[in-house]
Amino acid sequence: MKRLLAVGVVVLATAALAWAGVESTSAPKVGVASKPVITKALKGEQCVEDTDYMRRNHMELLDHHRDETVIQGVRSKKYSLKECINCHASEKSGSVAKDKDDFCVSCHSYAAVKIDCFECHSTKPQGSMAMHPLNAETAHYAHKLAAHSKDKISAEAMAGISQ
């Protein structure tokens, strides 16, 4: 009797597992959003604060800085939105919020947090991405830009045009 019960349990468990397995493969994923794409900034090696800190607190830094800038006229670069855009604009769209995989939009749509910044602020750095001047800081990304350009213009030449 004990043996029969054990066999029964095994059979039931196998069936349940098989059923679960079938369901996990065949049923469509409901309520699972695709993870945000976080691309490393084109310019620079390190953000102004640690990545973890920035992910949690970038809004506080920007909020504080915007009031200082608008009301007092403080134009320090460290926490300015313009500098965020300068580094984080994507190579493809040249923007931080144009395509769905762009830096700001990617996370914000995943977290379902609407950003109003770009109702007024430009999402692009000064000058287009291809024309973005390459300085000593960004020169090591020259190959990336060169690979994306359709014409056979070197990144150095592009930097030359924009200056």
């Binding site: 007092q72 134009r75 109702e119 007024c120 430009s122 692009k124």
Partner: protein, 257 residues
């Protein structure tokens, strides 16, 4: 015991404000003689706030302003990224940071040309009426709109005697300049090219254009600095403030009107 204090009618009169301002400026100068004045005159470090020791202003010489020339308007629209009236779909709603006026005296037929824009009043009506504090005067005398707090109610547009402000009615679809954020639902006006001032250019787009065209009708500078070009010219020339009867102490002065 002393609960029934006399009610002061106007606790902060303009005169008292003026005195406090002068006292603060004098203290600044005496703390760092020479050095501070130099910093003020030639742009300030980017981490330093705008100072009330400076008052940016403009002198418009209407006798030199050419009929039919609108270089200042074009330069402003290019620098600040607003669509000129003739290219706007809704002309009555078009932004007008600066506009060119051609006036005629009905008695003598004398024509006067002048640009009209935000006059950067010291006692600005737009600042007085703003319900959210979005319309404000910066320490260096520039009247601005804080778009983060502007709710687009347009009280300031009605309060302005110079018709200097406009509302952005439609989405700008990321056509803004990186240096000049502006957007739907917010009021805007001439900023005296605040981005250029903070960069240390010491001039505005309209003044640059007017000088480049050879008319030299516009002069920009610090009205608090007695040695600045604008202060010298203001001492020499007879100038007027538009609607001087309102007693607003304007930052833009006109000669030849």
């Amino acid at each position: 015991m002393n609960e029934n204090k006399p009610i002061v009618d106007n606790p902060v009169s303009p005169d008292r404000r003026r005195f406090v301002g002068v006292a603060a400026a004098a203290a600044g100068v005496s703390l760092a003689p020479g050095v501070m004045l130099m910093e003020v005159a030639h742009g300030r470090p980017e981490s330093q706030a705008a100072s009330s020791a400076v008052r940016w202003g403009m002198l418009v010489d209407a006798t030199k302003c050419e009929s039919g020339c609108d270089d200042c308007v074009t330069a402003c629209s290019t620098e600040n990224g607003w669509t000129p009236v003739d290219q706007s779909v809704h002309k009555k709603q078009a932004p007008q940071w600066i506009r060119k006026l051609e006036l005629q005296n009905p008695l003598t037929q004398m024509e006067t040309n002048l640009p009209m824009m935000c006059q950067h009043c010291a006692d600005a009506p737009c600042v007085d009426v703003c319900p959210t504090g979005a319309s404000f005067k910066r320490a260096d005398g520039i009247v601005l709109v804080n778009r983060h707090t502007c709710i687009g109610c347009r009280y300031c547009m009605m309060a302005c005697p110079y018709k200097a402000r406009s509302l952005v009615h439609e989405s700008l679809n990321d056509t803004q300049k990186p240096d000049v954020p502006r957007g739907i639902g917010c009021v805007e006006s001439c900023t005296l090219c605040v981005q250029k001032i903070d960069r240390g250019d010491g001039t505005t787009a309209c003044v640059e254009a007017c000088t480049a065209s050879g008319h030299n009708a516009l002069l920009f500078g610090d009205m608090n600095d007695p040695e600045s070009e604008i202060s010298k010219r203001l001492r020499e020339l007879p100038t007027k403030q538009v609607r001087a009867d309102l007693n607003l102490n304007l930052g833009v002065r006109y000669h030849g009107i």
